[in-house]
């Protein structure tokens, strides 16, 4: 690995048994372990897609900043809040390093 190629470890990944189902531009999350369904609106869906790829809330906010006319700190706060709730419900889980 060359210097500078080192990548940050992923922030999180979908929880075990979490399945997503797309409806138009929105998504429904199925927790196949708890038997519960969750729905996300369009903004939450965009955040989810990036969080599920392993991006941190700060990286997600940075990605989405150009798409929404919103103060950066407000967008970051929303991303952190959603990530926290997804983690709390087990829909995301932190990656072990």
């Amino acid at each position: 690995m060359n210097e500078g190629d080192e990548r940050k470890p992923p922030y999180a990944e979908p929880g075990a048994g979490v399945h997503s189902r797309v409806f138009g531009d929105e998504v429904m999350l199925l927790d196949l372990e708890s038997g519960q369904y969750f729905s996300l609106n369009a903004v939450g869906t965009r955040m989810w897609a990036r969080l599920a790829e392993g991006k941190s809330p700060a990286e997600v906010a940075n990605d989405l900043q150009s798409e929404y006319d919103i103060e950066p700190q407000v967008l970051l706060k929303d991303c952190v809040a959603l990530a926290d709730e997804l983690l709390r419900r087990g829909l995301l889980r932190r990656r072990r390093e």
Binding site: H19, M28, L32, G35, Q36, Y37, F38, S39, N41, E85
Partner: protein
């Protein structure tokens, strides 16, 4: 983000089921115990001593039939439904929101035929989801008793399955100024349908099938949320439901 609420099978009534031999035993505490074979046919109904006949009949024609359908691989919605030649309107929502009352007016004032009350069995016909006919009259809460009585005004019952042409999710909101109607976005429509689905198992296989069912119905028929304050007369809601169903696609 909120988890979708699960609809209790019968509010306030304990329910459990277990495999028994090659079939299943399902028990609605204090009301009935039902034996169902592996093909989903009800073989035996044991009425608990002291159970009210209305409650027994309600379980037998509703929740027990839904469980039998589940055993056979089918689905049921906690809903009331009626149809005309254009298709079936399915009315969902929590217990006490007025599904039966509104549907009784839909049938008595607008000539739709009753398909199901409280529990609607679903069946695909050529890939299109239909409601199975199961009721001849509407279950209504008696204002003077916890017992439920059949409403006498809705006697015209449908005899054949009817294609789902619209779904209406009823809700009360006393801050609403009147009847508020909006068509739900696909994910909210699917969530509304899943909240009304009678769920007997929560394993992965069933959940994935349930979501695909909700997706198919959502693609097939518009799903509306109709919110009203308690003072809105049910006749007004019935008129709106008929109007919405008449405007639904007929293909």
């Amino acid at each position: 983000m909120n988890p979708l609420e699960e609809m209790p099978l019968l509010p306030g009534v304990g329910f459990r089921w277990r495999p028994a031999g090659t079939g299943y035993v399902a028990e609605w505490e204090g009301i009935v115990t039902v034996r169902i074979d592996a093909a989903g046919t009800i073989r035996e109904v044991d009425v608990n001593p002291g159970a009210a006949l209305e409650a027994v009949e309600k379980v037998r024609s509703g929740a027990a039939a839904a469980f039998a359908r589940f055993v056979a691989g089918g689905f049921s919605l906690h809903s009331s439904a009626a149809c005309d030649d254009g298709g079936a309107v399915v009315c969902v929502g929590p217990s006490g929101v007025g599904k039966s009352t509104v549907m009784s007016f839909v049938c008595s004032s607008y000539g739709l035929r009753l398909l199901a009350d409280d529990v609607a069995g679903l069946s695909p016909v050529d890939g299109i989801w239909h409601v199975l006919p199961s009721e001849k009259s509407v279950w209504l809460q008696s204002p003077s008793s916890a017992a439920r009585a059949k409403h006498p005004s809705a006697r015209a019952a449908a005899l054949a399955p009817a294609r789902i042409s619209s779904v209406v999710a009823l809700a009360f909101d006393d801050s609403a100024l009147g009847l508020e109607v909006r068509q739900l976005r696909p994910v909210d429509a699917a969530a509304e349908l899943l909240s009304s689905l009678m769920r007997f198992a929560t394993d992965a296989q069933h959940m994935l099938r349930e979501v695909e069912l909700a997706a198919a119905i959502e693609r097939q028929a518009p799903v509306f949320r109709v919110v009203r304050p308690h003072v809105t007369p049910p006749e007004e809601v019935a008129a709106e439901i008929v109007r919405l169903n008449a405007g639904a696609p007929t293909t």
